[in-house]
């Protein structure tokens, strides 16, 4: 009975579609494929971020950025609800592969946001692109992901985070040109991000005539940094660059002051620890230290509004530094969908190749981290990196400093 009824309904619907197909233009053609979203069906966007394990705060933070972006859109895009589903990428290669495969196997997914860790993106992004799903990463910084030699399998990959090559060089220029230091030491934590940044820094620093006294490394889980700082202190560098994440950076910042011989050394870190949680972790010891980060000052108002929404929704301040990049990644995706989607009656068609091209064509999009413009290899971050200095007031209030201390441009 019910089955016959269902059959009849199906036939009627089918006939309706066929007629509609004849009556209107056929759904758009696309070399990779078209996602069809019927009336009332959601537009499915997937995130793949590290939301479990020791690096969970990074993923949770970026995910919240995406969620707030959806909230700002009222949960709807072109009249369809936005469905956000997520996978844990574990901040490692095998997690990235599994998460990407899961997303790729779901034909309803239109676009992805992620990954957090470059090591997860390397195997993951090609899998997504093979299924025609472009992905925008809010926090991958490794240069090879947008390298001209990266290969066509990364054609669907873009990012709103800064390429390490940009940020590491700015730090070195700042140290030499603005502070006038001659000697520097670096510390990384064995992550793809920090290791690359400090390598770029060291290269640029030497090119500009400085001397690197030592390049040290710690584990991200280390707590007692005093021994390694004591080792650094024996060579008396004027400047220490440690572009690492909140926990370890907090320990170093606090403990530098306790090591004899480093009391007057300049300290500098990167956007991986430019966040309120870092000011908690480092406390007053962070006063006076420098961070490189996108120049937020042009969009200060927008960012303030974001922080208010964040507090209201999650009951706390952002817990890691890439939430704004996450927000911007979502913004880019929405913008591109709006451009690429074709509406036929009540049905929405999203051609996959056109969506990818729309993402790559992003130009002058005003986000929280700056004006997003994508180059032909998917680097979309605003190239303007500024250097901020921490003041007692902003540490106390647990907010980022308002205006940059130094700009290279």
């Amino acid at each position: 009975m019910t089955r016959r009824f269902a059959l009849v309904v199906a036939l009627v619907v089918l006939a309706g579609f066929t007629l509609a197909g004849f009556a209107q233009a056929a759904p758009p053609k696309d070399p990779i494929g078209v996602v069809t979203i019927k009336k009332g069906q959601p537009i499915h966007i997937a995130y793949w971020m590290v939301v479990a394990g020791p690096d969970a705060s990074l993923g949770t933070d970026t995910k919240r950025g995406v969620e707030i972006a959806i909230q700002d859109k009222g949960g709807k895009l072109l009249g369809h609800p936005i469905k956000l589903s997520g996978q844990d990428e574990g901040c490692n290669a095998e997690g990235g592969q599994a998460a990407a495969t899961k997303i790729a196997s779901d034909p309803t997914v239109v676009a992805a946001i992620g990954s957090n860790c470059s090591s997860a993106a390397r195997p993951g992004a090609p899998i997504l692109w093979k299924a025609g799903i472009p992905t925008v990463s809010p926090s991958n910084t490794a240069p090879y992901l947008t390298d001209p030699k990266r290969g066509p399998e990364y054609d669907g990959y873009l990012r709103t985070a800064h390429n390490d090559k940009v940020q590491g060089a700015v730090a070195a220029q700042f140290a030499i040109k603005k502070l006038g230091v001659k000697t520097a030491a670096t510390i990384h934590d064995g992550s793809v991000y920090a290791e690359q940044l400090q390598a770029v820094f060291a290269e640029e620093f030497k090119k500009l005539g400085g001397t690197i006294t030592s390049q040290e490394a710690v584990a991200p889980t280390d707590t007692d940094m005093r021994p390694v700082l004591t080792k650094i202190a024996t060579q008396k560098p004027q400047f220490i660059y440690y572009p690492i994440f909140i926990a370890a950076a907090g320990h170093i910042t606090r403990q530098v002051k306790e090591v004899a011989g480093l009391e007057k050394t300049y300290l500098m870190s990167a956007d991986g620890s430019f966040s309120p949680d870092f000011y908690k972790a480092a406390g007053e010891a962070a006063v006076g230290m420098f961070h490189s980060s996108p120049d937020f000052s042009a969009f200060a108002a927008g960012y303030k509004g974001f922080l208010e929404k964040h507090q209201k929704k999650y009951g706390e301040k952002p817990i890691a530094p890439f939430h704004a990049h996450g927000y911007d990644a979502a913004l880019m995706v929405f913008h591109a969908i709006e451009k690429a989607a074709v509406k036929e009656g009540d049905t929405l068609y999203i051609p996959r190749k056109a969506l990818r091209d729309a993402l790559y064509a992003t130009q002058g999009l005003k986000g929280l981290t700056g004006t997003l413009t994508c180059d032909s290899y998917g680097d979309c971050a605003d190239p303007r990196i500024a250097v901020y200095q921490q003041t007692p007031e902003n540490i106390k209030k647990l907010v980022n400093p308002e205006s940059p201390f130094w700009k290279p441009y």
Partner: protein
Amino acid sequence: MARLTRRKLTPTDIVMWTIGAILIALILWGSIATLARGAYSLDHWIDFTIFGLAQGSIYALIAMGYTMVYGVLRMINFAHSEVFMSGPYTAYYVAAYFYRSGLLEAHPVLSMTMVFLVSMAVSTLIAYLLEMIAYRPLRSAPRLVPLITAIGASFFLQYVFRGLYGSGFQAYPVIRALEGPMYIGPVRILKFQLLVIFAAALLMIALYQFTQRTRLGRALRSVSEDKEAAALMGVDVDRMISMTFMIGGAAAGAAGVLYAIMFKQVHFFMGFIPGLKAFTAAVLGGIGNIPGAMLGGIFLGLVESIGPSLFLDGLGITAPYQLKDAIAFTMLVLVLIFRPTGILGERLAVKKA
């Protein structure tokens, strides 16, 4: 039995000792090269030692919990690291409240005592529940089974606390009275390091005396020697096992606050690495042996602090502190080659561990 086999020199022994000798030679070579370069002054070495002692004291305190549980149940309580995390993470909110209300500045001793008590209470409670729910039903199961529940409980507790308090960091407030260095003769030491070393030593001595001198302590030891015989003598074995967990939990809770005083940050994953290290320390000292745990903890702390500079710097190896855990584990293997049951662990050698 063990002694009998040791008397005859087998080829295996020769190979093992050769490996040991090569390792020792490498260490000596590295050390001499480092000292000959003279990059470090005496003050630096003293600093390294103090850092190592402070870190080692905390390892030792956590190791007590592992070693006591091992003594009575012969099992690795993998979830002890989460017992260690739960106390100080919860007590953070008390400390933060005291800081906001100004009590911490006005009465640092009183308010820190409260923080200690809260932390110890929470850790004790978690340890008690852990034993009751996850281990007690498995008393008669094969010995690897409770190890798996321990691992499961460890995950579970981590993510419960993450759910409760969030995945971000919290930082203990700075206590002014404990900031800055002080001098004992010519030796420069940070005030809170002195406190940590001192408090840890006091706690460990108190615990040791407790197990050696008091009635309850004797009952505990009797259970760890022989459960059946202890039960026949009128000792309530289940209660004693619970008690062991609770004492270990309390020690971990105290260690947690000391850790927080020294490193400030607390978060849901903070227990994992110190727990692993403390467990290593307990094995190094001879697991099941309380003075061994102390010794193992201090030894490990010192190796981590001094080792990379002393052994590797002279060999021209870049970023030696990245390798500090590798050095620590190599030292462990080295110790175990010559003493397969740890530094002080003779007693358990023959028992099938």
